[in-house]
Amino acid sequence: MNPWLLEAILALIKIVVVVFGVILPLVMMLILAERRVSAFIQNRLGPNRVGWQGMLQPVADGLKFLFKEDVIPGHVDRFLYLIAPGIILFPAIMTFAVVPFGDQLTTYIGDTLVTIKFQIADLNVGVLYIVAIASLGVYGLVVGGYSSNNKYSMLGGLRSSAQMISYELPMGLAIISVVMMSGSLRLQDIVVDQYEVWNVFRQPLGFIIFLVASFAETNRLPFDLPEAEQELVGGYHTEYSSMKFASFFLAEYINMITASALIATLFFGGWHVPFGILEALNLPVLWEQIIQILSFSVKTLFFLFFFIWVRWTLPRFRYDQLMNLGWKTMVPLGLLNIVLTAIGIAIF
């Protein structure tokens, strides 16, 4: 078989498996998890009626969204209003393309030797790709907020654009320090580089900056100003209903998954299994791969839990405080971190 064609087919299979087999079901579970975990934190029960322990609640929610009347208010900018949910959903899913969730597997398909990488696209500029695509997401919010022709939406859209632009900077600075350690923009290389010591121990400051910036990037509490319910009613998605509203909702959760996966990849050794357990077990290659993917999943899930945990604990920042934190604290700290990293690399 034509190796190029094989590669393409494999890529397609990976996209289908990752998007429809992993991300979307995970989002559904995540919505349930958010409700159950928040209920646990708040001494409540949470949804536990639909299916075993409420496992089918996301399905019920999804059906509800589908069957809701799709209202397009008369005062909106129709074209922009319709494409905004798409603009926000598209980059959210695309970012996941370069995240490596496992090592690679070399095997025969037919009689061709193929290397299957557990990553949709192994770009050599993976980090840049993520930063670039992630910043596209803000257009969805701005366009949504603007096209709704509603004052609350407008304020929400403005806030989100200012917020995401301000926090991409420290996020980028934190990533630079990681890239300095690994010497490559390829995410797979960054993971391999952390074989002995995870970046979180080599870059604690960078990790904290990246973590805080991811909260801001995903618009989650304490940085959920664009959709602050008590101030802006619903923020940028006030005028949206039905599946279009659900798209904004989905995008937020997909962004959360991507952010968690990135934290795991950049700072927690990606698919590496800690303490040399894997070497000690001496398993067949296939099993090793599966355990590595599991290790990556566990790390990602932990950060997803962390996102939920923080959301239900902290109050919300105010707009100017958010800007101050971004520009006056995080950016200088990010620069300092780069200098420290450079000194560290020069010495060792």
């Binding site: 928040s38 934190i41 100003l225 008590q230 101030e231 239900w312 604990t313 902290l314 105010r318 707009y319």
Partner: protein, 398 residues
């Protein structure tokens, strides 16, 4: 090159905040003039929940109006019941039995805790702390169980009668209140842990909605808002009623005058309320809860069935067009409701209904300074200030 800022035309945006808005808790309406996110002017529009309670006071007998007082500040209906009953009793010249006074004080303080819990929950919710909201509501749920057990209703308690109470407390009342007093400090500690030293909470509330001592007095604000501005005025201490002059409690005061200091004052009031309830329970007297003269209070059922006087008193109190008559005169009696000074001004023409009934609601007076507090702040601060004033629309519009 010309200065760009001269060419840029920036309009002020008028934002209609309410009457249906997640942060207004009831039907409040604010018209905000915004420059970007900075509030240039805030104009409160009131009256959306106007129900004519005061006017109805001229058509209902005194005991009938007690049910309307529930609906004013619906977060602490018992405090309203007690305030109104006190006013009428003072006009007649009734001194209610000791046990009734104790029960009233205990319930007033418990409803202060319930009110402050809702205030804290919604205030925290407005600033984004959802969990504190549910913790606080759970406390209120415990209190409402006690209220239901005592009065038969959770929200519309209507527990007081002129000259006493609807009925005595159930036999396990003390036990229930003691159990609550044991349970509550733990939750209070958790709430303090969630908010008090939380950096974000402090940033959001400190220096926001500043009200100086002089301004506070000039605007006539009362309650925690006044005490949060450094004035130690509390009706319970300055003009004691019921048994407050015999109780040992402190009036918490904070000098900063911002949202955070109002928060601290209210949090400390919770502790003081618990202290008052404990003291009341320690020497809880036995005896009747109703005034001996059944011209004003309902007689015991045995007396109604067995004696002619009892029967007459019963019907005189119950039948439409009858009811006891209040001597001619006018009176103003204030109590310290959870939100501040709740006053009742009653003019009687000697009949069984008030000639004129006027309520001095703390929310109405406290809300007047709203524009003064939020001018120059951000939209986010509007909800913080609104939360710290704890405006109850039912009481505001009456």
């Amino acid at each position: 090159m010309a200065d760009l800022s001269y060419d840029l035309k920036t309009d002020q945006m008028v934002l209609n905040f309410g009457p249906q808005h997640p942060a207004t808790h009831g039907t409040l309406r604010l018209v905000l003039e915004l420059d970007g996110e900075v509030v240039k002017k805030a104009e409160p529009h009131i009256g959306y929940l106007h129900s004519g309670f005061e006017k109805l006071g001229e058509y209902k007998t005194y005991n009938q109006w007690i049910t309307l007082s529930d609906r004013m500040n619906y977060l602490s209906p018992l405090a309203n019941n007690i305030g109104f009953a006190l006013a009428v009793e003072k006009l007649i010249g009734i001194d209610v039995p000791e046990r009734a006074k104790y029960i009233r004080v205990i319930l007033a303080e418990l409803s202060r805790i319930a009110d402050h819990m809702v205030w804290l929950g919604t205030h925290a919710l407005d600033i984004g702390a959802f969990t504190a909201f549910l913790y606080a509501f759970e406390v209120r749920e415990h209190l409402y169980n006690i209220f239901e057990h005592v009065t038969g209703a959770r929200l519309t308690t209507s527990y007081t009668r002129i000259g006493g109470l609807f009925r005595d407390v159930p036999h396990d009342f003390e036990e229930l209140v003691r159990a609550f007093l044991k349970y509550f400090p733990g939750v209070l500690k958790e709430l303090h842990g969630l908010l008090t030293r939380n950096r974000i909470w402090m940033d959001r509330t400190r220096g926001v909605g500043y009200l100086s001592k002089e301004d506070a007095i000039n605007w006539g604000v009362t309650g925690p808002v006044l005490r949060g501005s450094g004035v130690a005025y509390d009706v319970r201490r300055n003009f004691p009623y019921l048994i407050y002059d015999r109780l040992d409690f402190e009036i918490p005061v904070c000098d900063e005058g911002d949202v955070y200091s109002r928060y601290l004052v209210r949090m400390e009031e919770l502790v003081q309320s618990m202290k008052i309830v404990e003291q009341c329970l320690a020497d809880f007297p036995d005896g009747p809860v109703n005034y001996f003269d059944h011209k004003y209070t309902l007689p015991e059922k045995e007396a109604v069935y067995d004696t002619i006087e009892g029967l007459i008193h019963h019907f005189k109190n119950i039948m439409p067009g009858h009811g006891f008559e209040v001597p001619e005169g006018e009176i103003y009696v204030a109590t310290e409701a959870p939100n501040g000074e709740l006053g009742f001004y009653i003019v009687s023409d000697g009949s069984n209904k008030a000639y004129r009934l006027r309520v001095r609601p703390p929310s109405f007076v406290n809300f007047a300074c709203f524009d003064h507090l939020v001018r120059g702040n951000l939209v986010s601060d509007v909800v913080a200030v609104l939360g710290s004033l704890n405006i109850i629309a039912g009481e505001l519009d009456r």
